[in-house]
């Protein structure tokens, strides 16, 4: 019976013990009666002979439990005592473990929050994401290739039979409050059945019902998130029924969502929820959200019982043709419409929600988890080496213990106990470290414009993961030395301890193997780190074709002024002049799209026989001057390029080459394919600019067309986006412009951002990979070097006598150094060789994350190998140098 069975069968045990002792007493009594005693007398003498029944029982109990408990306590006490005796060793071991486990846990925590955790709603497995099969390659206007148009959402809602309920939503920034108190909040625009289908119930008041989201809802309500209810309304029940001003419309507060519901998009929390129908009211009657070519809703459904995601997907596919046929947009070329009609819907599991974070960071996080896993591996190898070295230092002690009668099992158990204590301490520290590291990374990932909210609470999966990693670590470095020890012959060890002339090769081979492994793995990590760092450098030092520094982005909204279309142009001119006259402003230009800001606008283009798509942007005259994009050929826009004048275009080199080949593009014309608000038109090329980046820093350069702001086909908007160039610090420029404009026009809403910072925010995934892989790569190299140092130092100690004899026989210091270093160089060469092969094999996994760099980049490989070999050689030179300073006499006497 094992001790835990004993623990749980205590009651049964007690009964048995009782019966056993009672049998004895009864037997003895009956013997005495047979011998002629009266029963009373017999019982009395038996009791006397037997002694205290309770104390006998107690002794029996402790005889059962003491053995394992006592020896375990002894093991722990012994381990703690040996820790106290070598604090440096203990700190090194626990520190290494804490780093390894901590880094792993932190990355896993992030991965879990972004990737693995289910949505905070009941039965998340029943949820499926409904989207366009294969994604929308760019038809119409869309934020995300999987989003659906409002008409398709209506069709899906009305015709599907696979789901017990469907829901649609979009997260948008809205202005809440008025004038000075106005601020931005993230509003979740949802359909009426949204909360009912998700089975989310109010913590206060009520949530929406189907009747809250009906065409033309004149008096929409609003639901608060738990967070906003707490922070803005102090968690008061009186908030229900009061009004919240959203885009200057008073919305009645209906209720509050529960605290644990943070929306369906991982990393993006909502502040308030509003029915979709309210958009018409909030946008002053603008029905743009219902456009047939505007995809903006994310759609999910809750599967009916008995339906699988695959069945639902087949069902959606079957009803798709009719739905897309019924919502064909107008104003597009026949070719575009054919593409639209071929769209099909599909269902994919939505249990973990949808997330831009996942698409953006998924690969990076998995790769980082792999990297930290390798770091942990190196750390463990290091620990095993430390333990091995210490074990051999303690050989004599163990041999004495063996000779004194300790069992080998007991020695192994003692080794395990030490490892376990190390692991527990390391895991505890690592967990604390993980919390700091993961919150640091999250603050790293979030940007000013889109702060990141991740629930990083510890859950059972993460605990299981940490425990698993710790346990593996424990086994790796606990068992190896223990096994080695149990092979030891006590007699010969006592005799020979410290006296070996040369180190026995066989005893030493595990350590060599571990060091070679460490060096090779850390070379792989170093190569990865160098690749990511160089890739990030490529991105930041890339010639984008435009100025990034000293540019302020301005977003101005004139909607509240309610200007007539005719008044818009002079008003905008006036505002631009105001800004231009603000001190320190060098130049300013408007644009229809901020480059590398995540937006794009494409139109079909035909020039002679060539037909393709190009990116279109409409800008004011000073645009190229402001961004310092050189006009290679032709002229800039000027005041004569007005609405009525012939349409003119400035194109980039790629466009010129794509559509006009090698001929001079100046004066040539091309036509655009029609789209709603963008009727077919002919443009004449008046200038050619240098190629610039457009959609993102990473993307390839597309054909690009710039049009004059006055010739913007949909006409002037009551808002403007602009680049403002200044040599003054941008932090104070925004407020200065704001103050100046507010003095004359307090109703203009405006926001300013640093262009360069926005571009950098777009490179966060790359920056994260560069910083973290660099950190882990350096850590790995350091650990491997320490490991090598340890092994060489150990080797020197083992061969002290041999070295002493060699020196006594006349070996020079240089020869001794060469003797030791030849050992180290062999290990380094083997490790680097295996590492190069490993790097080549693993490079493929990283290639998708690299920019302008081959994963098999020979320069990177060579640099990493040389760097590691140098550091490792330096690390092993220290003990070699020390060996050469040995006093031969002392070495020979050493025991």
């Amino acid at each position: 019976m094992t001790w835990w069975q004993r623990l749980f069968k205590k009651k049964e045990q007690e009964k048995r013990l009782d019966a056993e002792l009672r049998f004895h007493v009864e037997y003895q009594v009956s013997e005495k009666i047979r011998g002629g005693m009266s029963e009373e007398e017999a019982r009395r003498t038996t009791r006397l002979e037997f002694g205290g029944m309770q104390s006998v029982k107690e002794d029996c109990r402790s005889a059962r439990s003491a053995a394992w408990l006592e020896s375990t306590l002894q093991d722990i006490r012994y381990a703690l005592r040996s820790f106290r005796k070598s604090p440096a060793f203990t700190i090194a071991v626990i520190g290494t473990l804490a780093l390894g486990i901590g880094a792993n846990t932190a990355i896993f925590q992030l991965l879990d929050a972004v990737r693995l955790r289910s949505l905070p709603v009941p039965n998340p497995r029943e949820l499926a994401n409904i989207r366009i099969r294969g994604g929308n390659p760019g038809f119409g206007i869309s934020h995300d290739q999987y989003q659906l148009t409002y008409p398709i959402w209506e069709q899906t809602r009305d015709h599907q039979t696979a789901f017990s309920g469907v829901l649609a939503w979009d997260l948008q920034g809205v202005r809440v409050g008025q004038r000075a108190q106005a601020r931005r909040m993230q509003a979740l625009f949802v359909n009426g059945d949204f909360f009912r289908t998700l089975e989310v119930f109010p913590s206060q008041g009520r949530l929406f019902a189907a009747q809250d989201d009906q065409a033309g809802c004149a008096t929409p309500g609003v639901v608060l998130s738990h967070g906003i209810w707490q922070s803005e309304f102090g968690g008061q029940a009186s908030a229900i029924g009061s009004r919240l001003m959203v885009f200057d419309h008073p919305l009645e507060i209906l209720g509050v969502t529960p605290a644990r519901f943070s929306g369906l998009e991982v990393g993006r929390d909502f502040d308030i929820a509003i029915p979709i129908c309210a958009l018409e009211v909030l946008r002053s009657g603008d029905q743009g959200f219902k456009r047939r070519d505007y995809s903006w809703l994310t759609v999910m459904g809750r599967l009916k019982s008995g339906w699988t995601v695959a069945q639902a997907s087949d069902h959606l596919q079957a009803i798709s043709p009719a739905m897309f046929e019924a919502t064909v947009p107008t104003g597009y070329s026949a070719k575009s419409l054919e593409r639209f009609k071929k769209f099909r819907l599909e269902a994919v599991s939505g249990a973990t929600g949808v997330s831009w974070l996942r698409t953006k960071y998924d690969r990076s996080l998995w790769l980082l988890l792999g990297i930290t896993g390798l770091v942990l591996l190196i750390a463990c190898a290091n620990l095993a080496n430390l333990m091995l070295a210490r074990a051999s230092a303690r050989q004599r002690e163990f041999a004495v213990r063996l000779a004194l009668g300790a069992s080998r099992a007991r020695l192994i158990r003692h080794g395990l106990c030490e490892s376990l204590l190390f692991t527990v301490a390391g895991a505890g520290l690592g967990l604390a470290l993980a919390g700091t590291l993961s919150t640091t990374i999250v603050s790293f990932l979030g940007s000013e414009a889109s702060p990141l909210h991740l629930d990083l609470g510890i859950d059972w999966r993460m605990l299981a993961f940490t425990a698993g990693v710790s346990l593996i670590a424990c086994l790796v470095f606990g068992l190896v030395p223990a096994f080695q020890l149990s092979q030891m012959d006590p007699g010969s060890t006592i005799k020979s301890a410290g006296r070996g002339l040369t180190a026995s090769r066989e005893r030493f081979s595990i350590q060599r193997l571990l060091v070679v492994m460490q060096i090779s793995v850390s070379l792989v990590l170093l190569v990865g780190a160098l690749l990511f760092v160089r890739s990030f450098r490529n991105l930041t030092t890339l010639d984008t074709g435009f100025r990034q520094k000293g540019i302020l982005l301005g977003y101005l909204d004139f909607t509240q002024l309610k200007l007539s279309p005719a008044a818009l142009k002079p008003f905008e001119q006036e505002v631009l002049n105001e800004i231009r006259n603000t001190p320190h402003v060098d130049s300013v230009a408007t644009t229809s799209n901020i480059i590398v800001g995540g937006g794009m606008w494409s139109l079909g283009v035909r020039a002679g026989a060539v037909a393709d798509a190009a990116r279109f942007t409409w800008v004011s005259p000073d645009h190229f001057k402001t961004l310092e994009t050189p006009i290679l050929n032709g002229r800039d826009f000027n005041a004569n390029d007005t609405e009525g004048a012939p349409k003119v275009a400035i194109v980039n080199q790629t466009f010129a080459h794509r559509f006009f080949g090698d001929s001079d593009p100046l004066g040539k014309t091309f036509r655009t394919a029609p789209e709603p608000h963008y009727p077919e038109a002919e443009y004449q090329v008046i200038g050619v600019i240098k190629d610039t980046k457009y959609f993102s820093i990473r993307s390839v350069i597309d054909p690009m067309v710039y049009g004059a702001a006055d010739q913007y086909p949909p006409g002037r908007n009551p808002w403007a986006m602009m680049y403002i160039r200044s040599s003054a610090p941008l932090g104070s420029l925004g407020p200065a412009i704001k103050q100046r404009l507010n003095a004359s026009h307090p109703a203009i809403a405006m926001e300013f951002h640093d262009f360069r910072r926005q571009i950098e925010d777009g490179l966060i995934a790359e920056r994260l990979m560069a910083a973290l892989s660099g950190f882990f790569g350096a850590l790995a190299a350091l650990l491997a070097t320490i490991g090598l140092y340890g092994v060489i130092a150990y080797l020197v100690v083992r061969r002290r006598n041999e070295i002493g004899i060699r020196m006594a026989l006349g070996a020079s210091r240089r020869q001794v150094i060469r003797l030791v270093m030849s050992e180290a160089v062999l290990l380094i060469a083997a490790g680097v060789g295996i590492g190069v092969i490993g790097s080549l094999a693993l490079a493929r996994t990283a290639s998708a994350l690299l920019f302008d760099l081959k994963a098999h980049d020979p320069l990177t490989l060579a640099a990493a190998a040389v760097l590691l070999a140098t550091v490792a050689a330096l690390g092993s030179y220290l003990p070699a140098h020390r060996a050469s300073r040995l006093d031969p006499m002392a070495a020979l006497h050493y025991e």
Binding site: R16, A19, E20, L21, F23, H24, E26, Y27, Q28, S30, E49, F50, G51, G52, S55, V56, D59, C60, R61, S62, A63, R64, A67
Partner: protein, 115 residues
């Protein structure tokens, strides 16, 4: 007057129990009786130490136990020697012989010198 009962040296009770258990399954009362009998009443086993010793030996795996009917008709806990117990008995017995021989030698030597 009966001869004085001897206290057992530490550790020897275990040895005696294991030896008695070689004869086959036996319950606690019988073990006590048997030791007393074989030693011609020179050794008396106190129940206060017998039962803890039995449990300790069972815990170490030297003895195994099962419940079955005894000669009185009542159920009793019978102990028997395991293979591990048999090995332990062998080595302990050898140890004991060596020790007693050594002690005897020393005592003899001491006697020789004093006489």
């Amino acid at each position: 007057m009966p001869p004085p009962k001897n206290e057992l040296p530490q550790g020897t009770l275990d040895l005696l129990i294991l030896q008695v258990a070689t004869l086959g399954p036996i319950h606690g009362y019988a073990i006590a009786q048997r030791i007393q009998q074989i030693s011609r009443d020179a050794v008396q086993v106190l129940q206060g130490s017998l039962y803890p010793a039995l449990h300790r030996l069972e815990n170490k795996g030297f003895l195994a136990s099962e419940w079955k009917d005894s000669e009185t008709g009542r159920e009793a806990k019978f102990y028997r020697l395991t293979a591990k117990g048999r090995r332990q008995l062998k080595s302990e017995t050898e140890n004991w012989h060596r020790l007693s021989e050594a002690v005897g030698l020393i005592l003899g030597l001491v006697k020789g010198e004093s006489s």
